[in-house]
């Protein structure tokens, strides 16, 4: 069986670094194991950044009335692909993928766009009042000719 790693954190920015470092390290170990791994540093950075963005979003949209809200980060793998899901119980959201109009100096709204650009696949599902944002990226060498 492929290893499954689950990390549950309180929805607080205090734990943001734990989430993203965890993602970075899981990605590094995974890429190390995968044969013909791609540029490992880049692979890890993509995970570190994407999980950072997703976790930040989960914390931002958590309702302040429920301070004990939790965010679950779930890693699983399949052959050469690593998947990570960010699961929270926030209200449903619209996973926009559009790039913000940079010329207007936007201070936010880059998060999901970045995730889409960094990852191979991104999917969003709403089930039993939970949001599940799943992202995957392949660790084997991909050359763009």
């Amino acid at each position: 069986m492929n290893p499954i790693i689950t990390l549950t954190l309180q929805a607080n920015l205090r734990y943001l670094r734990i989430a993203s470092i965890m993602a970075c390290n899981v990605a590094e170990i995974f890429a190390d194991l995968a044969c013909n791994a791609t540029d490992i540093a880049e692979f890890c950075h993509a995970y570190e950044l994407s999980v950072s963005e997703a976790f930040t979003n989960s914390v931002r949209y958590a309702e302040p009335s429920q301070p004990e809200k939790q965010v679950t980060i779930h890693f699983s793998s399949n052959n050469s692909t690593l998947a990570v899901s960010i699961i929270d119980t926030n209200p449903q959201f619209n996973p926009v993928t559009q790039a913000p109009d940079i010329s207007c100096y936007p201070e936010g709204g880059y998060g999901l766009f970045l995730i889409h650009r960094l990852m191979d696949t991104v999917s969003y599902t709403r089930k039993d009042n939970t949001n599940i944002l799943t992202m995957t990226k392949q660790a084997t060498m991909v050359h763009e000719a």
């Binding site: 920015l13 670094r17 993203s20 950075h45």
Partner: protein, 107 residues
């Protein structure tokens, strides 16, 4: 995140060190808010280990404020990881980006 400050010419040079994400971005915003509004800035990013979109948002916000108060804000010494975030979001179009702090602090 650590911020160290020095002054060269009429520029305040802020050297950032560490992580610039959603939890540390307020630190940077507050620090800048403590400086005079029309103060021109050079932000040295060489020692930034990690930047995410919240960190980028903070930088963009500072750039917008400086622009409206006719002050200058420049970025210096972006490393590859920082560059990647700028490249994807095309945020490089909003900044003057230098590979050297002293060059940025002239003119």
């Amino acid at each position: 995140m650590n911020i160290s400050e020095k002054t060269v010419n009429h520029y305040t040079i802020l050297s950032l060190q560490g992580i610039l994400n959603a939890s540390s971005a307020p630190t940077l915003r507050n620090y800048i808010a403590g400086l005079p509004e029309a103060q021109s800035l050079v932000i040295d990013l060489e020692k930034i280990e990690f930047l995410d979109s919240s960190g980028l948002g903070a930088l963009v916000g500072i750039a917008r404020k400086k622009k409206s108060s006719s002050a200058v804000m420049k970025l210096a010494r972006m490393n590859d990881r920082v560059k990647k975030v700028f490249e994807i979001t095309q945020a490089y179009t909003l900044f003057d980006i230098y590979d050297d702090v002293s060059a940025a602090a002239e003119a």
